[in-house]
Each structure stands twice: as structure tokens, then as C-alpha cells.
Symmetry: C2
Subunit: 267 residues, 2 copies
């Protein structure tokens, strides 16, 4: 079993990814897909007059401020547009894809971040109307039910709280939790860079192999978005996934290449 995370950032060659995926599925190698959608959500929410806002936590991390209106736009774009079009594209390549988000059947249950301490104009204050969550459980049995029916699940990054609120969740960490829950051997994270670089964006510093005990150090030099991928890799390893590969999604045969060892292999 392979879990493939497809990044929301521009540049990923979706036709090449879907073609590779069709090859794997037709060989009898089951795949679960997890995707993002931040970039497109920013674009559409701006068009709808609700430009994205980002907040900086007291500990220095920057994240999307997801009030209820933003959550609904996030659901609309990731689950309605990106997910449906990805399922449609896979269907065109002969893969019987089946889209869902973590809200459906409570596939991903997350704890809502009740309050975030943020820094605004140099002063700290608490933010209480945020609809972001941290995934606590993934229902691997339900995903396997779909796989056993010959379907390829395509998962949008929304989860549900125990109280029944839909929540925005980080797609890289969702992919890690999904990989753990379905017992995947490999998690491939496709992005618009060749892999993890020691000095981003100098591609000559690409790290071909990162052992498990190098992950903490990697958190130090990973840039921006790559930090969450490193965290996800660490979580996936902890959940029994034996190999995580950060690979370039912009090229031809991105999945075949990743499984052959291109990119950064973490094991």
C-alpha cells in the first residue's frame, strides 16, 4: 500500500501523477491519495472578498486564520473543486477514484485548537474563533472498505471534531496519519521542489537519504512549508510507515521515479 500526498502548490504535473498512479493501480498496487489546496483557497477567497489572513503564534509559527466563513470557502475549494477534478482526472486514466474528506463518515477526527495565542502589533492576544484542528484518529477500516471494493480513495484535508465541527487540517500531517492508519509501507509526498535541501533553494544540496535520527536536525534547516512535511515524515515513521519520500511532482513519471529512490528518502 502506498499513500501519495499531492501538494496544492503550483507546478505539480497532475497528468503525469495520475498516469503513474494508474500504472500502479493496474499492477494491483493499491494507492490512497491525500491532497492540499491552500494556494487555490487563497485565490478563490480573495475573489469572494474574503482575502486570506495569516497569524503568527507566540511560538513564532505562521498559520492560516480560519474563521467560519473561511472554513466554508476552504471546504468548497478543497473538497468541491480540487477533489472532484482530481477524481475526474484519475477516472479519465481508468482509475476508479472515490473522493471524500475527513468529515465523511468521520474518517478523520481532529481536536479543534480552542484558542491560539497570537502576536499582533507586538502584543499577545487569544484567538478563539478558529476552525483548525490536529488529527487524532483516522478510520483506516473505512478507507480499506473502499479499497477492497476496488476504489482509490482521494482524501481532502478536512476533519471533524468530536463535537461535529468541520475543521481545516494540515494536508501533510493528514497524509502521515492516513498512511499509518491504512498500514502503508510507503508515503510519497509530491511537491514543486526536488526534495529536502540542506540550503534551500540550492538544489545541489539535495539530501538523497535522511536516516530517522537526522529528522530533528532537518527541522532546523527545512524552509517554510518543508518544516511541516518533515514533521509529517516523523509522525509517519512513528506510526510504522517504513519509508517516506519527498519527491518532485513537476516531472514526467514522478511516482515511478520517487519509488525508484529519486528525491529525499527518509527511512
Amino acid at each position: 500500500m502506498i499513500v501519495v500526498k499531492i501538494g496544492g502548490a503550483q507546478g505539480v504535473n497532475l497528468d503525469a501523477v495520475c498516469r503513474d498512479m494508474a500504472g500502479l493501480v493496474h499492477e494491483g498496487r493499491p494507492v490512497v491519495v491525500v491532497h492540499g489546496g491552500s494556494a487555490e483557497t487563497n485565490e478563490i477567497s480573495t475573489m469572494l472578498g474574503v482575502p486570506p489572513r495569516f497569524v503568527t503564534s507566540a511560538s513564532g509559527f505562521t498559520s492560516r486564520y480560519t474563521d467560519r466563513q473561511t472554513l466554508e470557502i476552504f471546504a468548497m475549494v478543497t473538497s468541491g473543486k480540487i477533489n472532484t477534478l482530481l477524481v475526474e482526472r484519475l477516472q479519465k486514466f481508468g482509475v476508479n477514484a472515490f473522493g471524500l474528506s475527513g468529515v465523511d463518515g468521520r474518517v478523520m477526527v481532529a481536536k479543534r485548537k480552542e484558542a491560539i495565542r497570537i502576536v499582533e502589533n507586538g502584543r499577545q492576544r487569544m484567538l478563539r474563533d478558529d476552525y483548525t484542528g490536529k488529527i487524532e484518529t483516522v478510520n483506516g477500516g473505512l478507507l480499506r472498505l473502499l479499497l477492497d471494493a476496488g476504489l482509490t480513495p482521494v482524501v481532502a484535508p478536512l476533519a471533524i471534531s468530536p463535537e461535529g465541527d468541520a475543521l481545516n487540517v494540515d494536508a501533510d500531517r493528514a497524509a502521515a496519519m492516513v498512511a499509518g492508519a491504512v498500514g502503508a509501507e510507503q508515503l510519497v509526498i509530491l511537491t514543486n521542489v526536488p526534495g529536502l535541501m540542506r540550503s534551500f533553494p540550492d538544489e545541489s544540496t539535495l539530501i538523497a537519504h535522511l536516516p530517522k535520527d537526522g529528522l530533528e536536525q532537518a527541522l532546523g534547516f527545512a524552509e517554510g512549508r518543508m518544516k511541516k512535511k518533515v514533521l509529517g515524515a516523523s509522525e509517519a515513521l512513528g506510526l510504522g510507515v517504513s519509508k517516506i519520500i519527498f519527491a518532485d511532482g513537476r516531472i514526467e513519471q514522478p511516482l515511478v521515479g520517487a519509488l525508484a529512490g529519486n528525491g529525499t528518502v527518509i527511512s
Copy 2:
């Protein structure tokens, strides 16, 4: 088994519908939900600078003109927003709802209307870039797989063509086809009117019971949107659904009332 169609028009009391549905599901009576979304698609597509366009066919029917851009907005709104929020609301009432559209797992396969002869400024011309379809098959087995897993499927009105294109389909007729495919005994169509009226909008002309052989006549006096519901009812009867109920979705206990015989019962 009961199939419930929830209209996209304003006024339907979603909390009351979901509360009733939770009562049924908890009594062990399985439900499949089908919903619409035209009204909200019009609103959001206008905000995105793509106002809805309607065309009149040579035979006098008016329908939405769905070019590719409109199709993507329709998918975004119905499958991403309306569907996700309905699933979330059902989850809050303790129903383990599971959203999908007909594109997922090819649950609904439709024939694309390759060309429509329309009338524009008094002249006829062919429209060839429309992404609208007529459902030909519904995979009842896949819906039953979800039901057997204790889930309540919530279906958005999108289908897929044999060529793999996502298509906009009529939600009333989708509900009829779904009811036939899952072997439902009853199909409840909730709207923002009390039922079928002989002279719309005079509610004193509400028809309490319409026998099967009165359907053709009903097509004559049904107003606008109600025409397609009458067509759907006719299709559902043909597929073995024994009772179709047009009922008011704006009131308290709309489903319980409909199942007790309120509204227009077609059998």
C-alpha cells in the same frame, strides 16, 4: 429504505430535516439523501464574475448553460459547500453521514447532452460545449456498501460520462434514479411549497393524492421547477418505488409529516 431529496431553494428548514432523519436512522430505517444546489451556485458564480446563463431549447424548456467554467463552480458549490455542510449538520445530530457525488466511484453515470438546439434572439443555433447530462445508471451496490457499513450517503447532483467528464445533472431526477437503484419503497421530495397544486400558488388547490395515471395530466399544470419533480416521480414509479411524496421542507418534522401522508402522495 427511504430516499430524501432536499431542495436547493431557500426556506427548507435543514435543522428540522436533519433531526427527523436522525430519528429514522436511529430507529434502524436506512436513508439515502440527494440534494440540489442551483440557487447557491447562481449566487457564488455571480460573485466570481461568472453570472448564470440560461438557455431556451427549441422545444421551449429553459435550462442552465453549463460551460466548463460553470461546471467547475457547480462542483465546488454543490459537492464542496452544500454537501460538506449537510454532512456536518447530520453528524451533529448523530447521523454518520457520508458525502459523495456521482463522479466518486462512478456512482452515477450519465450521457452528456452532446448538442442542444437553442433559440437565441429568435434564431436557432446548436450549443456544443455544455456539460449537462442525463443519468443512465446508478451503482446501487456501492451505495448499499456504505449503508451496510452504518453510513448515511449524501449525494450531490454530479455524474460522470462514460468518457470521464463530470456533468451537472438534475437533482430531482437523480433522486428518482437513486431510489430505484437502492430499491427504496419511498421517495420524499422536500421543497419550499406544501406539495403539488392544481393552480400554483393557490395552496387550497393542493393535491393530496395523485394516482399513477394522473401524472401525465399533472405535467400540464405543474409550474416551473415542479415539472421536473413530476417527471422524476414518474421515473421513480417506473423503477419500482411504490410511493413518492412531495412535501413541505420548511416546517417542523417535515419528514415525519411526509411519511404520515402530508403533502402530495403519488402512488
